[in-house]
Symmetry: C2
DNA sequence: TAGCGCTGCTAAGCCGATTTAGCACAGAGA
DNA sequence: TCTCTGTGCTAAATCGGCTTAGCAGCGCTA
């Protein structure tokens, strides 16, 4: 069955010219090399008729470029996030005629190395190293000499690799500002805080959100009313933290949850205590998980622009390939910070007096 | 910077043999073609020392196989599901030394065609056509002559392509059996039913789940107590359906929700009506979304084995490449149905008497 | 001592494109 | 008539590996 692919040689034969001529015409160098209009037209016509498409593998062999990008993610555990990030990358890649190899390491260094090798064996033009939660990560040494971009992660060590991350710090400030504008002066933190070092280890997001929160509070002459550091940021943790908070302060007015799943747990605890959102308690959160929309009332949250992050990573990577080695040239690695958009729903109200 | 890749020629030169010899040794045909042990050893040593890795692009050019599979999904809207499916596919592919191209069509036929072309241009060895919800879909004609497998979708038309889908029908039967064993005799359906044709259009999952449910009820001499067909299967739909149900029957005993998001809405409606899960109402559902674990009480649900589906699709695809054209040979396309595992949590209790 | 078979290795072609160098022909000028 | 300059096209090398066919040298037989 398998109809054989139409090759350049087929086109050339059918048009009665040499493969060279066909190649020149189809790569747009016909005029430059003085192929007559009649022949050019004939080649194009035959090419269309036969449905010729160049074999990228072949081009890859001689040019060393395969129009392919490797996308290495460390975990797809919280895969919804990964999906959007990949989607953005995919779209940007497709727009530029690139394809994406996807690979997953589950955080294992050996399998990361293996995966990157497999990609290099296939002559990828560049590699995106994505993390599903913002963190510091080293650049694998195999990637020396290959264009690379970190996505939702920051390079550690001397490697001068550009990175693309959400602007967590700004979002932290914005979250506080939102509550201040609603008249709140007492803000409890669920998931981290109150001190600047009270964050789960290795999460850049937590550290930067907290820094933003604390700085914005400070500029209003305030400090967190309380902070509840959690090991993990899942609903049960949020539930427990708010449960504990209510034991100390039975009528909190405003919560900032460090992510939406914590907020979900917070909702549950508040509800069981007979407190209503937002009439009794305002809640602001981060991530804009799908969940945020489904809660009743809807959760006001700062979203991670996953799709935009993925898209930007691809664009940065393709940009690198044009200029020679710009990251190293400019001395220090470039960090692209993308704004986290606010999704205002029903969970914030003016403070009750 | 970019250290040049080590080629076979480099290894050969360093070992003082011809490229032919090096190739034979490294592809394991050394003994067969009588290369002396001394030379074999030397070639291997040099190869290791230089860190030689064969360039798969080159092999792809001559052999036409690139150890690469294209994974085309129609939508990543509900991307968590996609993520797990892709993860399973990824793992299986990696185990066999294959890489995955990922592409997304957003359901658009033109972009699907374009994507598949882009993959064929890169000489993929096969293509997996994945849907994020089980449905019928035609096989794009460009794929004639290429190995293909449908994932979470069934081929429509004469194309003899194997497919891998969850066994929705069996899960429907199991859901009912679970309730029957708990002593329930009155079962309300949220999302579809009561009649066998009362399903949202084009969802195979709904149709098959409903068929299983109705058949199992029938074999106990029962029929659905009521059924609430919803346009979409999102929390607000579940909320509304249960709201309506309660207007007719204020004390339902058992609900089967057609997915977890409907069940989430059902929980909310039950809660607002002062009914408790599972003491007053038992709830069974399908999908095992992450959400199911977070609800209080945890939702008892039949999960879609996404990871297993993805994995199996790859295995079926790679299996096809070994035998010639087995699907067509065997006459009718093979459908692989994978069991949907039960995740028993706290939402089902023995019927109150 | 020519012929045969075996051992151990290599030359050369191929996959499908791009690219460089250059060929054949026509017309113009010396 | 010979050279020179364009014009229009093509041969051949290349990318990096695999594969087929075959070569050289040796010992053994007839």
């Amino acid at each position: 069955m398998a109809r054989k692919r139409v090759t350049l040689a087929d086109v050339a034969a059918a048009a009665g010219v040499s493969p060279t001529t066909a190649s020149l015409v189809l790569t747009g160098r016909g005029r430059e090399l003085r192929i007559s209009d009649i022949v050019q037209e004939r080649v194009h016509a035959v090419s269309d008729e036969l449905g010729y498409r160049p074999n990228i593998v072949s081009i890859g062999l001689s040019k060393g470029t395969t129009k392919t990008i490797g996308f290495v993610s460390d975990t797809v555990a919280t895969s919804q996030l990964a999906g959007d990030m990949i989607r953005g990358a995919l779209e940007a890649a497709q727009e530029h005629g690139y394809m994406l190899f996807i690979g997953e390491t589950e955080g294992d260094a050996a399998s990361e190395r293996q995966l990157i090798d497999a990609m290099l064996d296939r002559q990828v033009d560049g590699v995106i190293l994505a993390s599903m939660f913002t963190r510091l990560r080293p650049l694998p040494s195999t990637l020396d000499g290959t264009a690379a971009v970190m996505l939702n992660a920051l390079p550690v060590g001397a490697s001068a690799v550009p990175s693309v991350v959400p602007d967590e710090y700004a979002a932290g400030r914005s979250a506080v500002r939102l509550l201040l504008e609603a008249g709140h002066r007492s803000v409890h933190l669920i998931g981290a805080g109150p001190g600047e070092h009270d964050v789960p280890p290795a999460t850049v997001a937590g550290r930067e959100r907290l820094a933003g929160i604390r700085d914005e509070l400070a500029s209003a002459g305030l400090a967190p009313a309380s902070g509840w550091l959690c090991d993990a940021w899942l609903p049960p943790n949020g539930f427990a933290a708010v449960h504990d908070l209510l034991a100390r302060d039975p009528t909190p007015r405003a919560l900032i949850c460090f992510n939406d799943r914590l907020a979900f747990g917070a909702y549950q605890a508040l509800q069981e205590a007979g407190l209503r959102v937002p009439e009794d308690v305002s809640v602001v959160s981060f991530d804009n998980a799908t969940l945020a929309e489904w809660l009743r009332p809807g959760l006001t949250t700062f979203g991670i622009p996953h799709e935009e992050l993925g898209r930007r990573a691809v664009e940065v990577l393709l940009g690198m390939r044009e200029k020679a080695e710009p990251a190293e040239a400019s001395g220090s690695p470039v960090v692209h910070r993308l704004a986290m958009p606010l999704f205002g729903r029903g969970s914030v109200a003016a403070v009750a007096r």
